[in-house]
Subunit: 251 residues, 3 copies
C-alpha cells in the first residue's frame, strides 16, 4: 500500500508544469524516505531529477518500495482537474498496475478520483556525483524564466558567463545577437536578489524554464553539467542537469 | 412586422454561446407568445429547445407567425459586435428574407444595424411529452460545466448516477477512469447548492455544457432522455434533451 | 554615429504593433531632424508614414544621414523582450550593417542588448502633397479600431460617409450587410469625443487599425486618399494613407 497526501495540490501542479514538456513519461520511485524521479528529457540534453521527502507530505505511507511508470501528459491532464486548494492523495496497491489521484475540495463537498494506468518503463538510474561548483548564482526564477524565453527566440543555445559584477546571458542566430546582463544586487530587502560567486565560467545551456518557485539557483563549473535547481519548500527540490555544449560548430 | 427588443444583449449573447457549437443553423419560430427554437444538434445526439416568452421582452410585436432560418455562426459573429449593455432589437418584415439586428449603445451615440440573410430550413417540430422525472438535481451551472469539461478529457460519455447523498459523474477511457462525487448541500446561504431527489437512476450523457445562468437543473428517469435545463430569468428557458446511450459497447 | 533614446519603450512597442502586420520590412530614415519611415503596406493598398521628431527623444544624436532597412517582424520580436518602462536606446555606426537596441530596466540592474542585422531595401520616397480636406473626423481610436474589427468580419471594404450629424461606417458581404452610425458628441468632459466637419464625402477603406493612442483623426476629400492619423505625444505622428476604392465591382 502506497499513500501520499498533500493539503494543497498547487505545488504538484507546478512541478508537473515544469517537467511535462521535457518528459513524456517518467518513473516515480517511492520508498519510505519519499518519492524520487530521475529521467533524461525527450531530447536527451538534460537530466531531470525530482526529490520529494516523505516528511514533507501531510500523510505518507509506503509499505514496500514501488516504481510507478507514469505518462506525464495524462498525469498533467488529471491534475488540471484539481483546484489549487484541493487536497491531493496519491494511492496505489503494492502490486498495482494503476495509480489513483484523489482530489478533495476544501469543504469536502466534491471528491474526485482519477485512476490512471501505469506503464512499464526502462529504468536506468544514473549516479550523479556531488560536485563542488566554482560558481553558484541565485536569482529570482521569474527573471530567469523571462531571460530564457526572450533569448530562445533569437538562438538555440544560451551562453551564461559569470563574473563578480553579474551574470551575462547571450545568444545569436539569424536575426542577430542578444546579450542580457544582470547585475549582482548590492542592497535588498527580500531575497529577490542575484548572488554570484567567484570564477568566471562560461556554460552553454538549452532548455525550457518555468518559474516553479520564487528562487532559482544556477551552479556551474568547467566541463561539468550546469545545475538549475528549484527548492520545493519542505518537500525537496527539482533539479535540471544540463551538459555543456561542445564548443565546436557554434555560431 | 416582427420586432423584439431587449434592453441588454448579454443574455442573448450567452444563449448563442451555449448553442452555437451544437447547432450550425436553426429555425426561430416567432409568434404572439414568443420565440421558440427546437433543433437536433449537429451530431444528432441531443435536442436543443429554447423558449423566450414575449412578455419577458422589453418590447415585442409579432403581427403574423414567422419562421426564420438562421445560420448560428453568422448570428454569433453579429452578436460579438454588440456590447453587453447594448440594447438589442430584432426586426423582420412579414415576408422577409432578411432579419435585422440593431444594437444601440447606452447613451445612444452608437447605433449598429446588421442585416442577415435568412435560410430555408427543413422543419420538423418534435412533440416532447411532459415526463415526471424520478430524479431532479439542481446544482451551480459553473460546477456542472467544470465537471463535464474535466471528464470529457478522459472519456466520450459521462455516466450520472444519483442517490440521496449526492451525485456521481463517471467516465473511463484510454488513460483510465474518473469519478467525481458531489455531495448534497446540507446548509447553504445562497442558492449555490446541490439538491437531489429520490430514486437512483444512472444516465449516460455526452454534450458540451456552458454556464449559461447560475443554476442548472438535471432531470432524469429510466429510459427517457436526460433534461439539462437553464432558466433564463423572465424570458424562459434553454433545455437540452439527451437520449441515454444504449448500454452495449460501453467501456 | 546614430543614437536615439527614449525613457519608456511603451510608445515604440505600440507603434510596432500598429505597423508590423502591414509591413514586413521598412526603411527608417534618420537625420538630424528625426526618424522618418514611409512604406506601402504588403497588399499595396495603403501608405504608412511615421514621423518621430528628434526633439521628442530624451537623447538624440545623428552625425550623418542614415537609412536603416529593418525587418519589422524581427524588430517586433526584439521589442517584445523589453518591459514597458524600460529605457530604450537605438544605436548604429555610420556605415553599420547592424543596429543595436538596448533596453535598461528602471533600476539599471538589467541591461539587454539586441544587435539586429540591417537589410538593403529598395527605397522610393513618395511625395505626399498637402491637401485641404473637406471632412475631418476626430474620434476615440479604441472605438474606431472596434468598428474596423467588427465590420471587417462582414465585408472586405468599409465605406465611411459623413454628415454634420455623424459618421456612418458600412460594409456588406456573404452574410448580409452592416451599418454603424456614430453621432457627433454634443457635450463632453474629456476629449473622448467625435467631431465632424462639413461636406459629406463617402470613402472606402480597407485596413487593420490599432488603438495606438487615445484619439484618431480621419481626414477625407473626394478622390484623394483617406488619411488616418494617430498623434504620438511629443514625438510626431503615424499616418495611414488609404486610396479610395474605384466604385466598380463593389457589392
Amino acid at each position: 500500500m502506497f499513500e501520499a497526501r498533500l493539503v494543497s495540490s498547487a505545488m504538484f501542479k507546478k512541478i508537473l508544469d515544469a517537467i511535462k514538456d521535457l518528459l513524456n513519461e517518467a518513473s516515480f520511485d517511492c520508498s519510505e524516505s519519499g518519492i524520487q524521479l530521475q529521467a533524461m528529457d525527450n531530447s536527451h540534453v538534460s537530466l531531470v531529477s525530482l526529490t520529494l521527502k516523505s516528511d514533507g507530505f501531510d500523510k505518507y505511507r509506503c509499505d514496500r518500495n514501488l516504481t510507478m511508470g507514469m505518462n506525464l501528459g495524462s498525469m498533467s491532464k488529471i491534475f488540471k482537474c484539481a483546484s489549487n486548494d484541493d487536497t491531493v492523495t496519491i494511492k496505489a496497491q503494492d502490486d498495482a498496475d494503476t495509480v489513483t489521484f484523489m482530489f478533495e475540495s476544501k469543504k469536502q463537498e466534491k471528491i474526485s478520483d482519477y485512476e490512471m494506468k501505469l506503464m512499464n518503463l526502462d529504468q536506468e538510474h544514473l549516479g550523479i556525483p556531488e560536485t563542488d561548483f566554482s560558481c553558484v548564482i541565485k536569482m529570482p526564477s521569474a527573471e530567469f524564466a523571462r531571460i530564457c524565453r526572450d533569448l530562445s527566440q533569437f538562438g538555440e543555445s544560451i551562453l551564461i558567463s559569470c563574473t563578480k559584477e553579474g551574470v551575462k546571458f547571450s545568444t545569436s542566430g539569424d536575426i542577430g545577437s542578444a546579450n542580457i546582463k544582470i547585475a549582482q544586487t548590492i542592497n535588498f530587502d527580500k531575497e529577490e536578489e542575484a548572488v554570484t560567486i567567484d570564477l568566471q565560467e562560461p556554460v552553454t545551456l538549452t532548455f525550457a524554464s518555468t518559474p516553479l518557485t520564487n528562487q532559482v539557483q544556477l551552479s556551474m563549473s568547467d566541463n561539468v553539467p550546469l545545475v538549475v535547481e528549484y527548492q520545493i519548500p519542505e518537500l525537496g527540490h527539482l533539479r535540471f542537469y544540463l551538459a555543456p555544449k561542445i564548443e565546436e560548430d557554434e555560431n
